[in-house]
């Protein structure tokens, strides 16, 4: 109960500071604003004083969100090309593994947070469609040699039974990202792939999602949670929007266990990746931030603790590529 009151208070402060920002930007200033301004300034000052890390730099929390936004605004057009170049295509295998572990059934609702260019959502829709096709093929094969019993029942009952069921359970994927440029790239990809139904694009902050409670069957966040300023808030939001029985899945860069591999990985990260960023995307600093932010993210066990603290159960993780990437999963009960 204390937690929900805290959350409510936080939301009120955030809403009030948002009205202040909107009034400062020159829109209609109501007479009540000055009092709000003085009341809430003390709350927002606290946030500005606390510091956090931006890669290896120390910045204020307010500044971090803004700088992360600028990084992704700048890398958005070349994001997919760079992913392929930096991981030599292996990121596709990681994302495929996420879907394989998720094993979604047709009809479930996915929330892909920090989904940006939509990689996870596209894979999700593909997976679900291929599942549906498999089921349809199986039923078609079964219908080819029906027994006398089946023929007689099909005469008496309506035949659209199976199709109606799958239509009613249409799977949906919602891609949520704080950055409009990344969503724009994702939308263009969707258009070029010809995907029109089952996908929606929403601008939103992982620390404060624009969705009601208990909405989604699966919540995924792939390579996004390390850019969030307050990871615990993002985890709490995940718990809030998941249905009871829903699954939280997080794909993120983590600590490599093998020391030799760790040295190679570090050398590759710090020498090669910013160079690739400069040559392919013309942006050294964003990719320097990327490799530094990976080092600042907590390791597998610590992150597992954080997920358990947020209120998820049966939390486990799989190490992929020797610990370069870890897939954490937990359930809301």
């Amino acid at each position: 109960m204390a937690a929900s009151i805290r959350l409510l208070a936080r939301r009120i402060v955030r809403d009030a500071s948002r009205t202040i920002n909107s009034s400062v930007s020159g829109r209609i200033v109501s007479s009540s604003c000055p009092s709000n301004l003085s009341a809430c300034r003390c709350f927002s000052d606290g946030a500005a004083d606390k510091s956090t890390h931006f890669g290896f730099e120390t910045v204020s929390e307010g500044e971090k969100a803004e700088r992360v936004y600028k990084v992704f605004e700048s890398v958005a057009p070349k994001y997919d090309v760079m992913n392929d170049a930096m991981s030599l295509g292996v990121h596709r295998l990681w994302k495929d593994m996420l879907l394989h572990v998720m094993n979604p059934q047709p009809g479930i609702c996915l929330l892909d947070v920090a989904g940006g260019t939509g990689d996870i959502s596209f894979r999700f829709l593909d997976y679900v469609r291929s599942q549906q096709e498999r089921v349809a093929r199986r039923t078609a094969r079964a219908n080819q040699t029906p027994s006398w019993q089946e023929i007689s029942t099909s005469y008496t009952t309506p035949t659209e039974g199976i199709e109606m069921e799958t239509e009613a359970r249409e799977s949906r994927a919602v891609v949520c990202d704080i950055n409009k440029e990344m969503l724009k790239v994702g939308k263009q990809k969707a258009e070029s792939m010809g995907i029109s139904s089952g996908l929606s694009w929403v601008v939103g902050d992982a620390e404060e999602l624009p969705f009601d409670d208990d909405q989604f069957d699966v919540y995924t966040i792939a390579f996004g949670i390390r850019n969030v300023t307050h990871i615990d808030l993002a985890l709490q939001e995940a718990v809030r929007v998941l249905k009871p029985g829903g699954r939280f899945m997080c794909l993120e860069f983590s600590k490599v266990t093998n020391p030799l591999l760790a040295r190679l990985y570090d050398a590759y990260s710090f020498q090669m990746i910013p160079v690739l960023g400069e040559v392919i995307a013309g942006d050294w600093k964003s990719y320097q931030y990327l490799v530094e932010s990976i080092r600042k993210f907590p390791d597998q066990e610590t992150f597992k603790q954080m997920i358990e603290d947020a209120g998820l159960f049966s939390v486990r993780y799989h190490n992929l590529t020797g610990g370069v990437v870890a897939l954490h999963s937990g359930f809301k009960l």
Partner: protein, 283 residues
């Protein structure tokens, strides 16, 4: 109508360099290119790590990788001026040192190294330059900018040179490039650029110029190759060798000087051919 790559670079780098300049030009272009601002994460005003604003310290391995990568990228797409710039910075250490020493030896060059002038749209008094008599260096330069639709602000800032003075020399080299076009009477089409590159390679010995001079002709059609090989090329190389160091000239104080006078002073012959500036379309 496509914009030349020059203008796009101009818009980009103006955003970085215009923080300190307050001229009309800066306002005009900032309003136009908010969309272009995605290029690169900008540090807060006045803060930078490294030896100069925009400096990114790099290890030798990174420099080697950058040199190879930018070389490949520049060959694949010669309109990627940032890649040409990076190639120049990572490979040009020795040549920059020689150039810096040459500048130091010349009294005017020494003044440039101490005063560190920058050629930018905001620092040029365009109306005054337009009122100069025809045939004066400033007037011809202005006409060159208009005819070729370029601006002096299109140069990428130096990032990977690990010495503050050499970084300035590199920046000066980039900014003087357009003035060289004017001095040599070459437009900014492919043929003109190759001719200027040959001159620069002979003058500076920068590996990037030599590479550009060697590979540039490969992209020329045979009709253009012929004048290059027969008259323009030898003229450019000869003048590059015999001319005074063009980077030691304080151009900003010589707008009123007549172009012929300046050429004589620098020991540069006028061009053997006049090439007209054709509209260029980056493909």
């Amino acid at each position: 109508m496509c914009q030349p790559a020059h203008n796009i670079e101009m818009l980009r780098s103006l955003l970085f360099s215009s923080r300190r300049s307050t001229g009309r030009g800066a306002f005009m272009f900032e309003a136009l290119c908010v969309r272009q601002q995605h290029h690169g994460v900008d540090h807060a005003d006045g803060q930078y790590d490294g030896l100069y604003p925009g400096h990114i310290p790099t290890s030798p391995i990174q420099k080697a990788l950058l040199a190879v990568g930018s070389g490949v990228a520049a060959l694949q797409d010669p309109y990627r001026h940032d890649m040409v710039a990076v190639l120049g910075e990572t490979t040009g250490h020795l040549a920059l040192m020689t150039l810096r020493d040459r500048m130091r030896g010349d009294p005017e060059g020494y003044t440039i190294l101490t005063e560190r002038p920058r050629i930018r749209l905001s620092t040029l008094d365009l109306s005054k330059m337009a009122s100069l008599p025809d045939g004066s260096f400033g007037r011809v330069y202005l006409r060159f900018l208009e005819d070729n639709r370029v601006t002096p602000d299109s140069r990428v800032n130096v990032k990977f040179v690990d010495n503050e003075e050499l970084a300035y020399v590199m920046q000066r080299y980039r900014e003087v490039h357009d003035l060289l076009h004017t001095l040599l009477g070459m437009p900014t089409n492919m043929l003109g650029e190759v001719a200027v590159k040959w001159f620069e390679a002979a003058q500076t010995g920068l590996p990037m110029c030599i590479l550009g001079a060697a590979l540039g002709p490969l992209r020329l059609s045979t009709s253009r190759l012929e004048p290059l090989v027969t008259s323009l090329g030898p003229w450019a190389v000869r003048n590059g060798r015999q001319a005074r160091c063009v980077f030691s000239i304080f151009y900003e104080r010589r707008w009123e000087q007549s172009l012929e006078d300046l050429r004589e002073e620098l020991n540069i012959e006028p061009p053997p051919l006049t090439i007209t500036a054709t509209s260029q379309k980056p493909h």
